[in-house]
């Protein structure tokens, strides 16, 4: 069986996803071009003519993120006759799905060298810009009991008995860990500054974290989803399905949910043979992947079953995994994962997560997989697992082995 190796993993810093964010003036295509340039620079042996495909996850693939931005970015980066490209949408796991598909292509033996990652400029193409029948078509939304993710996250917290204090405590720890990781240079290897056309640095660090955040400082924030839960009717929708739950305890706030940011990520995925021919050094092996569908109204419970699926495929157990990255879409999602998988907090999101760093939707999956590879190297450990909860009730997981 051909193995799929990760030869490199890079990402942009994450800029605050609003008009005052540092990356708001940078187009999504430019974020990707910067990373394609960088992987070529870092890997002089990489022959651009051998790149067979460019796969990018994008959650709002419209406007300036639309019309197959993967091929567009490849062209803009000069990969004219190589680098076919396609954009995919697996909601929040799009970036990881791009890596998984690349790995599957390579392992099938049908392709040998692929760039995979994702991009989302949430300040320029706001969430929900692409509409879609799930939320926008009343017939579909009614039949599928659509609710916004925050209501789902609050339902998870309610059912798991996570209090507001519990989720704030988790969130403050995410900030603390991210602060330490930044101070220790844990992201330095992957993080590629964004520069403008004059070579001037636009942003060279993650700008979302709030150092000094405490559970107490988070405690003053208002719940984000109590209003739409009530006025929007969504609590009622969720409770009609989860009929044994009397009411939803709205615990999630902007402080314990993932941040809205701009960013992009990219990996080189290739076969052993292709890498060797170009003199590339493999960093990790993709061991297994897992994708699952889960109940769509509670929506965000996919990480554990997708992780189990990948583990089963790999013939492994959770305790064999040294480090986990579970996307911090909402604090309760990660807390439920720890409980369901019986994984200690010490092994999960050791460098913080999206609560502190932000969640550039389509890009995040490949970013956190890169983070886990970097950290396995720093710790000299072997197996890592990255997973994300996904809109519509899905989960995606990837297991890697550091080489």
């Amino acid at each position: 069986m051909t193995e799929a190796f990760v030869y490199d993993a890079v990402r942009t810093p994450r800029g605050r996803g609003k008009a005052t964010g540092s990356l708001h003036g940078t187009k999504p295509v430019s974020l990707v071009v910067g990373l394609i340039d960088e992987v070529q620079k870092r890997n002089p042996g990489l022959d651009p003519a051998q790149i067979e495909d460019v796969i990018l996850g994008v959650v709002s693939p419209v406007g300036e993120q639309g019309a197959d931005i993967a091929r567009t970015a490849a062209l803009a980066a000069g990969l004219e006759t190589s680098g076919a490209g396609f954009q995919l949408n697996r909601f929040c796991a799009s970036g990881l799905e791009a890596v998984n598909i690349a790995a599957q292509k390579v392992r099938s033996g049908w392709e040998d060298l692929i760039l995979a990652g994702g991009v989302e400029s949430m300040s320029r193409v706001p969430m929900g810009s692409d509409g879609g029948p799930w939320a926008m078509d009343p017939e579909t939304a009614y039949a599928t009991s659509f609710v916004p993710q925050g209501v789902s996250a609050d339902l998870i917290a309610t059912m798991e008995g996570f209090s507001r204090d519990d989720v704030d405590l988790y969130a403050a720890e995410s900030q603390t860990r991210a602060g330490k990781a930044i101070a220790n240079g844990a992201f330095n290897r992957s993080l590629v500054p964004v520069v403008d056309i004059n070579g001037q640095v636009v942003l060279d660090h993650d700008e979302f974290p709030r150092p000094g955040t405490t559970p107490e400082s988070l405690g003053g924030l208002k719940p984000s989803f109590a209003g739409i839960g009530d006025m929007g009717g969504f609590d009622a929708v969720a409770l009609q399905k989860y009929h044994w739950v009397e009411k939803i305890n709205h615990v999630h706030t902007p402080g314990n949910s993932s941040g809205i940011v701009d960013g992009a990520s990219l990996m080189i995925i290739g076969s052993e043979q292709a890498g060797a021919a170009m003199g590339l050094t493999p960093r990790a092996r993709v061991v297994a992947t897992g994708v699952v569908g889960t109940e769509p109204t509670i929506m965000l419970t996919g990480p554990a079953p997708s992780a189990r699926k990948a583990l089963a495929k790999a013939g492994m157990t959770a305790d064999q995994i040294d480090l986990f990255e579970v996307n911090e879409a909402f604090a309760a999602v990660v807390m439920k994962f720890m409980r369901d998988m019986d994984v200690p907090h010490e092994k999960i999101n050791v460098n913080g997560g999206a609560i502190a760093l932000g969640h550039p939707l389509g890009a995040t999956g490949a970013m956190i997989l890169g983070t886990v590879i970097d950290e396995l190297e720093r710790r000299d450990q072997r197996f890592g697992l990255a997973t994300l909860c996904v809109g519509g009730g899905m989960g995606v997981a990837t297991i890697v082995e550091r080489l």
Binding site: M136, P138, E139, Y142, F146, P148, E246
Partner: protein, 722 residues
């Protein structure tokens, strides 16, 4: 179908054609086959003679403008004839579309009510002028019959008022507007004081607007509030279905759902495509069982009751003039209020003048509110209040031709007050008791004139609940029944007539429902699940909440009386699994809201704050609460009420199916989508036989209380319905 022309054509010297809707074969115009042919002919002629036509006025030769769809026809739509039905609907819409795109101004002169199809015709006109007729109503009430306005009503209302207003104000509730309200909501453009003024205004408008087109056909048209593609509307859109689920509490009501879908989907496409989308959803509703159920209950059954279906023939109307209300508690106070409002003099009697005055104060409070809202003048309030005389003296009951007794539910007490009142009131006064459970025949023992004694069971709160359950005792005469029905009509209550039995019809049937829900709690079903099962079945409130409202000490009292009566008659009283739940709650001092504690907790103001957390210990949840079959819980409640109702039919408590259907919906909250307890059996998927099979399944699983009675089995075997 008939070829008879239902539309008159008159053209004046200025070229204005007046089309008068006037079906010679009916009292009101409806969307019959004859209408369809006549409208097509009229529109054809308008096109043929267009050069000589300067405008069109559509009015009616009846008291009302147009009554709407042909419900008999609508209730016969099935999968087999759906395509044919759709073709007919499409043809009706096509002619109205041709009318509004004639290229000449078209004005609706609405001389009377335009509901449903009537308003849809008017909406296809460029301008709507309504006669200021206090009886007239305007609106699209199709949703209340499980239907949608399928004659272009959804499509045009959305284009006229926008999605949010169109859905909220007109379509989803099916609101019937008085003339002034129709103007302010925007479905009528002008009001005229007299028929002549209405027609003059119509002609003036035509002369002033020779180029009139519909707003949606004018260049640059924008949907009020924005189309779904507008980011502001798009942002609100996901809340539409969610709020509908919230409002419906998950009840299976396809009509509002289909209306919402047709409105939103139609708003994204051109008008002709929108008509097609509307048509698909309309046909889907028409051929479904829910519309058939609701048409049966809210049209055929209700009309039969309102037309005096249960009133014995041969008795001249004899309205009440002066009523003695005995007992000025909550029920008595309410009965006094509705009677006084209906123009009846009331003597409100209680043990003390103070208590009687307190009862009258209830009327004062309600009338003050009405005056405060501006819906009543102060003079009218004073006039109504002056009709109520509070007293503690039986002598003041002299001259009363009707007694409504509303004292505590105690046979001896009721006997006593009748013993005092009967000699004072008119010698032929109708003697009514507002008991909710005590057999009427037994209560009649307390009066001399047993033939004039009758049960008048009101529901609480009396001023809001539309039903009056009239109970015939063994000796109650037809004449007395006729008078009771005349009183019901006076006070604008919908009467059902039942024969005597413990709990009559409504109390007896609702008891089976509440008990079933309480039994579930004892089985280990999560309390929140029971509440959801109740409301998702379509009941107005959760069963546990209802039990708290009704008070479980009362349940025990009724149980004890029933048991004693059965044992006295030499029969045994089978123990219901709900009884241990009730006993436990009463023992814990949590009998309900009155006690400030029940299944729910209450704050110091009596406001419900949430389920009592201690319930989980008293009635532990069994197994995985998510594995519970919610549909089965819903059906248990519906089926037990239906089975009990079938028993009422067999025992002669219920005589008319319509009384059971309407009584169950209006009196005890049986879900409207079912069409009522007996219609639920008739319309059960697979028919009466399938219902019996389901009841048998439940009997095996939950107990003999579900076992179908012989009448039900016979109907299933013979393929009959109620």
């Amino acid at each position: 179908m008939t070829d008879q022309n239902t539309i008159r054509w008159d053209q004046d010297e200025n070229g204005i054609v007046t089309l008068t809707l006037d079906d010679p074969s009916q009292r009101a115009n409806t969307m019959s086959g004859a209408y369809q042919a006549s409208m097509k002919a009229a529109v054809d002629r308008l096109y043929a003679e267009k050069d000589s036509v300067t405008g069109v006025v559509i009015t009616s030769g009846k008291d009302t403008f147009f009554a709407g769809g042909d419900l008999k026809l609508l209730s016969q739509v099935t999968d087999e004839n759906a395509a044919e039905f759709l073709a007919g609907v499409t043809a009706i819409k096509a002619d109205l579309r041709r009318l509004e795109t004639l290229g000449r101004p078209v004005v609706a002169a609405l001389n009377g009510a335009a509901l449903g199809g009537g308003l849809e015709i008017a909406l296809a006109c460029h301008h709507r002028i309504a006669l200021d007729n206090p009886k007239a109503q305007f609106g699209l009430p199709e949703v209340t019959l499980g239907l949608l306005p399928g004659g272009g009503g959804v499509t045009r209302i959305v284009r006229l008022l926008g999605l949010a207003d169109g859905l909220m104000k007109v379509l989803l509730q099916g609101t019937r507007f008085k003339t002034a309200d129709a103007l302010s909501v925007g479905i009528v453009d002008e009001i005229a004081a007299t028929p002549q003024e209405m027609l003059d205004k119509a002609r003036d408008w035509i002369v002033a607007n020779p180029e009139a087109v519909q707003p949606w056909d004018a260049p640059g048209y924008r949907m009020p509030g924005g189309a779904p593609s507008n980011p502001k509307v798009a942002g609100m859109l996901p809340a539409f279905p969610a709020n509908l689920r919230k409002q419906l509490k998950g009840a299976p009501m396809p009509a509002p759902h289909h209306i919402m879908c047709a409105a939103v989907e139609g708003a994204t496409v051109d008008i002709d495509t929108a008509f097609a989308v509307e048509g698909r959803y309309f046909v889907n509703l028409a051929k479904g069982q829910t519309a058939k159920n609701m048409i049966q209950a809210f049209w055929f059954d209700l009309n039969s009751i309102n037309a005096g279906g249960s009133r014995p023939e041969g008795f001249a109307p004899r309205p009440a003039e002066k009523v003695a209300v005995l007992g000025a508690g909550m029920m008595g106070a309410g009965i006094a209020y509705v009677s006084a409002r209906a123009g009846i003099d009331v003597v409100l009697k209680d043990v003390s003048l103070e208590a009687a005055e307190k009862g009258k104060a209830y009327s004062q409070k309600l009338l003050d509110k009405a005056v405060g809202r501006g819906s009543m003048t102060e003079a009218k309030r004073e006039e109504i209040l002056a009709r109520i005389t509070p007293t503690a003296d039986y002598a003041d009951l002299a001259g009363c031709d009707l007694v409504v007794e509303a004292v505590f539910e105690n046979v001896a007490l009721k006997h006593e007050v009748f013993g005092q009142a009967e000699p004072v009131v008119n010698a032929d006064a109708l003697l009514g008791s507002n008991t909710s459970t005590l057999p009427i025949t037994g209560l009649a023992e307390g009066v001399q004139r047993k033939q004039d004694f009758i049960g008048l069971h009101f529901f609480s709160p009396v001023d809001k609940m539309p039903l009056l359950e009239i109970i015939r005792g063994e000796q109650t005469t037809d004449a007395a029944l006729a008078r009771a029905l005349d009183y019901a009509a006076q006070i604008k209550k919908t009467p059902i007539v039942v024969n005597d039995s413990r709990g009559f019809f409504t109390s007896r049937v609702i008891g089976t429902f509440v008990n079933e829900a309480l039994a579930m709690l004892g089985e280990g079903i999560a309390p929140a699940t029971i509440e959801q099962a109740t409301t998702q079945a379509g009941y107005p409130v959760g069963a546990l909440q209802l039990a708290d409202e009704l008070n479980m000490e009362l349940f025990l009292k009724i149980r004890n009386e029933t048991r004693a009566a059965l044992e006295a008659a030499g029969r045994s009283h089978p123990r219901h699994p709900a009884e241990q739940v009730v006993e436990k709650m009463v023992e814990l001092g949590r009998a309900g809201r009155l006690r400030g504690a029940g299944f729910f907790d209450y704050d110091e103001n009596g406001k419900r704050t949430g389920l009592w957390p201690g319930l989980a210990e008293v009635f532990p949840i069994a197994g995985d609460p998510g594995a519970v079959d919610l549909t089965e819980l819903e059906e248990r409640m519906l089926v037990i009420e239906a089975v009990e109702s079938a028993r009422c039919v067999e025992e002669g408590v219920i005589v008319q199916t319509a009384d059971a259907n309407i009584g169950s919906i209006m009196g005890i909250g049986f879900p409207p989508w079912t069409g009522g307890v007996l219609q639920y059996i008739n319309g059960y998927p697979g028919g009466v036989a399938a219902f019996v099979a389901r009841a048998d399944q439940f009997a095996d699983k939950y107990g003999e209380r579900f076992t179908p009675n012989p009448l039900l089995r016979k109907k299933a075997e013979n393929g009959e319905t109620f």
